[in-house]
């Protein structure tokens, strides 16, 4: 593509798409942000899986609790 081709395709693009209008949002967006801020993030599934695994381990091998606490 030479400079002439580039100029023509630029011109075509400019004639096809106008610059976006200089307008702001049509509504107050802060309530949407607040909803996100107020939503408490749930713990990731990995944390739950780890806690469940640990509880199962303690239930199956209660004698291992002192050893487990020693290595904590």
């Amino acid at each position: 593509m030479n400079t002439h081709d580039e100029d023509r395709i630029r011109q075509l693009l400019k004639q096809t798409l106008a610059p976006a209008p200089d307008t702001g949002p049509s509504r107050d967006l802060w309530p949407s942000i607040l909803r996100r801020l107020d939503a408490r993030p749930s713990p990731p599934w990995f944390d739950w899986a780890l806690a469940a695994g640990l509880a199962l381990f303690i239930a199956l091998f209660p004698t291992a609790i002192p050893l487990f606490l020693y290595y904590l």
Partner: protein, 185 residues
Amino acid sequence: MAGSVEIRPGPHSQEVLQAFRHGDQASFEMLFRLYQSAVHRWLLRIVRNSATAEDLTVETFWRIYRAHARFDPERGFEAWARTIATHVALDWLRAHKQETELPVDLAAQQRPDPGIAFEIREKTAAAFARLPPRLRVAALLSVVEELPHKEIAAALSISVAAVKLRVFRALRLLRKDLLKQGITP
């Protein structure tokens, strides 16, 4: 805008920026009120749909809030917000690659050119929408919005030379697509 509070940057700007950096929600709201229109306008330039730009403005400020600890007050809030907004818009364009439509009628209403048929403009817009998002955004901001390369480079977190290359590649691909359709630009 309904419910908005007009806040002008004042002598306490640095204090507000520092407080935001430490996660203060009131400072975040102040910055949101101050910059939401600028961020929305920037997103509108990229996605070219007001409702989408509004949704992405919310997503941008949500990401901004989560990244508050990484904010550098020396760099300035608007430039940082613009960079995050650009990445949010790029993510959206990638996720909605097949659905993205560029409004041809917007151009037709504002800058009618009787020399170019509506069909050609429509095909050009469709071909442009098929470009990879990173090339499309660079070409939109440079050719259509006529923004300085330096400003585009900062928003895209790339060099000025990379912006020029992306614009060139976008125009070359666009020309190729149009030639395939029998349109000689």
